[in-house]
Amino acid sequence: MDTDQHDTPPVLEVRGLSTHFLLRAMTLKAVDDVSFTLHPGRILCIVGESGSGKSITARSLLQIVSPPGRIVAGQVLYRATPDAAPVDIAQLPARGPAMRALRGHDIAMVFQEPMTSLSPIHKIGWQIAEGLVAHGMMTRKQALARAVDLLRQVEIPNPEQAAEKFPFEFSGGMRQRAMIAMALACNPRVLIADEPTTALDVTTQAEILRLIRRLQVEQGLAVLFITHDMGVVAQIADDVLVMYHGRVVEAAPVSDLFANPRHSYTIRLLEAAQKLGMAAPPARAAVQPGPRLLEVRDVMLTYPAQGSLFRKTVQPAPTLQGISFDLHEGENLGIVGESGSGKTTLGNCIIRVLQPSAGSIRYTRRDGTVEDLAALDRDALRAARREIRMIVQDPFASLNPRMTVEQCIGEPLLVNGILQGQALRDRVAQLLTMVGLPGDIGSRYPHAFSGGQRQRIVIARALALDPRLIIADEATSALDVTLRGQILDLLLELQPRLGLSFLFISHDLGVIRYFCNRVAVMHRGRIVEIGPTEQICTAPREAYTQRLLAAVPEATPQRRTLVSV
């Protein structure tokens, strides 16, 4: 990276860092010859897909790579002050006092999952103060006062009271703020943020990004920000490092990288991100909807009241509060919402994994008869589920690890008594080819496949019964962005051939916008707005939809809508 443009010397300089995992059979080069510099007052983003080595790079800087991982080569030069002689962190003993003194004090880290990084049994205030006391910087009382001050800095309302609370009393976003406060407690010079917003809702993500940017400017921090999301990169980065299979394939200032990506992988990454971005044309704008397939009216779901001997019975708020919509044949209806909005519950109610407490779900069958799914008995439900299929988020958990691919895909055909023996095997091979996999892999077990391939297997299983409606619940959320586009394209390609309709549930507006021609926005168990995708995305009427749209990180560094400094 070009260092001449910065007048201050780098606070952290990484040269030829290699972290390898020495496994029994082989050496896994998780980080291979990585070099970069971190400057005060700048944000360096490391971007890459899962397994690219970006997290291991960050952990190597603090020497907290879990065994059998080990730094095998390279230097990590840290300067405590601009004039100080650099210390090579990679040479310090990982458990020694010198390394401990650096961690948290000079270089602090924020992790992805704020719940598991906070101790559940200590008050927030004390957890923040602890580092200060441990580093011998303050007395207990001073440290607690500083904790309150830090909580104010990270924009937590009523910091005095918040310091007295436990992590479980905080929401996800609040916990991540507390984590940032903890990281900032000792006034570090370098902040490493490892996917700090990945577990958060998009509106919360926007707030946290804004907060990190503000603190970085105010305190002149050098920030190493790790993410897989090109949108986040475009919004927050000054410089970008693209990692692929443990190596840095491209390093450039953010505007250059987005304007002229040089490496083919960067180009692929950007194309995938822009395809599912808010500026790209959607894949299915115009659709002539067929006859009505699904008529959902006033569906409610209330979980039964939880009472016990010692606790008063509390009537919980209903999870679904009167959901109504129609779905027509050949249509793709997107359900978008943040976590806890009830979108997954809605999908589960329609396929009757959950029993709605009230309302009707009238489904028109292939032969034209209309039945209320909410009132079907076991056998009728089984018949209905041959026409309505579901694809869930986690391709690793949704395939039985003890069955071969052929058994997994063939199971719905077998148990419904449709095919067996050689005919079944032929049909499975045909289904595999249909979803873009070789037809002869049926004898392998799911563990032999990557996430994207498994999701294709799950799709093949869903298609086995020749369905008419597919409920896809976050079907692409667990996949890397380049695979996400491929899976969506596969579904779109199959749709006209097989006469499918989709109910597509996702938290990702970009994906919904690409895939669906109509979208329903859910918030706290209600549909707040429903309409054609184009209209919802360009001219939303409801305030909540507007807020949701404004929080989407756009993959264009020229338009930093989230983070303005």
């Binding site: 958990a397 395939l399 719905p412 148990v415 392998r444 799950v458 491929q486």
Partner: protein, 377 residues
């Protein structure tokens, strides 16, 4: 638009592991656990020994000799010499009973002149293998019939302790297995009911289990065992003891099964199976039980030692198996008073057998558990 996977996500050519079933993967992971493999080898040897106890034991365990009371253990010497020179052949140096001229106390002194030669597969005390096949072959023994060999010493009736330990393994180890089989049956039925149906059934089963766990074990065993009629045949008594021991042991297994069932019920592949149209029976037997087996095998292996220890404790206290029945606990009963231990410390050797078995089973169980659930820790 393409239905082909891109270069980054290409299907690799088939490798041997790709078609390896879950059971095979568990087995491969188990193989890496050295201590567990050692445990498996020891357990296998012990059970083989118990099955072929008549052949493995050098003598009839009830063969007593009043002149060989508390005969001390003899070491096997591999090199022997006589008038013809040196030989490589296993021998033991016999002991002779001598009386101290002053105190008249009987002591054993080594008789260095006549060495007892040992051989494999010798003819010795006749027996009926599994009470059916009449035989007299023993794995190891003195070459000449009528000679003696006490590798682990003799007890107060001059019976060979090694032979008695080997016969005792039969009762102790099989009680472990039978007890666990009983426990497993109860555990799977109640744990499965509890985990699958949940709600009221679960509440009732769990409270029952908690009640049983809260009972002080040893007094209950003592009471139950004491309630058995005195004139019961040893075989019936043996089964009664097994049932009594397993009545307590099933609770732990029931909890394991219930926990796994609850966890599995919310797995997406189980939901997927339901949506595929699988019947309830197929979901339980094709999808849930196979996922449970490796965990159950591991829990069972870890439960056997508890059964063996329970039998030992009961017999030691004199309410389990009674002489003439031989079990490790019954043998240890001989070592109940300090005087006999002082005179013949080798009477504690059955305890060493118990410890070896329990340790080996624990290593095996730990290894199986780790192999079945590599992400459990």
């Amino acid at each position: 638009m393409s239905t082909q996977t891109s270069g980054a996500d290409a299907i690799r050519p088939a490798r041997a592991l790709d078609t390896a079933s879950e059971a095979r993967l568990v087995w491969l992971r188990f193989g890496r656990h050295k201590l567990a493999v050692l445990g498996l080898a020891i357990v296998a040897l012990l059970y083989l020994m118990a099955i072929f106890a008549e052949m493995a034991a050098p003598f009839d365990p009830d063969h007593s000799n009043a002149r060989l009371v508390f005969h001390p253990p003899q070491a096997i010497h591999l090199i022997d010499h006589d008038d013809d020179g040196w030989h490589l052949r296993p021998t033991v140096i016999p002991y002779r009973l001598a009386r101290d001229k002053v105190t008249l106390a009987a002591t054993y002194v080594q008789d260095g002149e006549h060495h007892t030669r040992l051989r494999f597969f010798v003819h010795g005390d006749p027996y009926r293998l599994w009470t059916l096949i009449p035989m007299d072959i023993h794995l190891i023994g003195p070459a000449e019939p009528g000679q003696t060999m006490f590798l682990f010493g003799a007890d107060r009736q001059g019976r060979d302790v090694l032979s008695r330990i080997i016969y005792g393994a039969r009762a102790s180890l099989s009680i472990g297995l039978l007890g666990v089989a009983n426990s497993l049956l109860l555990g799977i039925v109640f744990g499965g009911l509890s985990g699958y149906f949940g709600g009221r059934v679960d509440w009732f089963v769990q409270r029952t289990i908690e009640f049983i766990i809260s009972l002080p074990t040893i007094p209950i065993w003592l009471a139950l065992a004491a309630a058995l009629p005195k004139d019961m045949s040893p075989l019936v008594k043996y089964f009664c003891i097994t049932v009594i021991i397993s009545l307590i042991g099933w609770t732990e297994l029931a909890r394991v099964v219930r926990g796994r069932f609850l966890a599995l019920r919310s797995e997406s592949f189980v939901t997927a199976a339901m949506l595929d149209g699988c019947s309830r029976r197929r979901i339980i037997f094709r999808h849930m039980l196979p996922a449970l087996t490796s965990h159950i095998i591991a829990s069972v292996t870890l439960a056997i030692p508890a059964m063996i220890l329970a039998e030992t404790a009961l017999s030691f206290l004199g309410v389990g198996l009674q002489p003439p029945a031989i079990s490790w606990g019954a043998l240890l009963k001989e070592a109940q008073n300090v005087e006999s231990i002082a005179a013949a410390p080798w009477l504690l050797l059955p305890g060493a057998a118990v410890a070896l078995t329990v340790l080996a089973l624990n290593f095996l169980g730990d290894g199986l558990r780790d192999a079945a659930d590599p992400h459990g820790h």
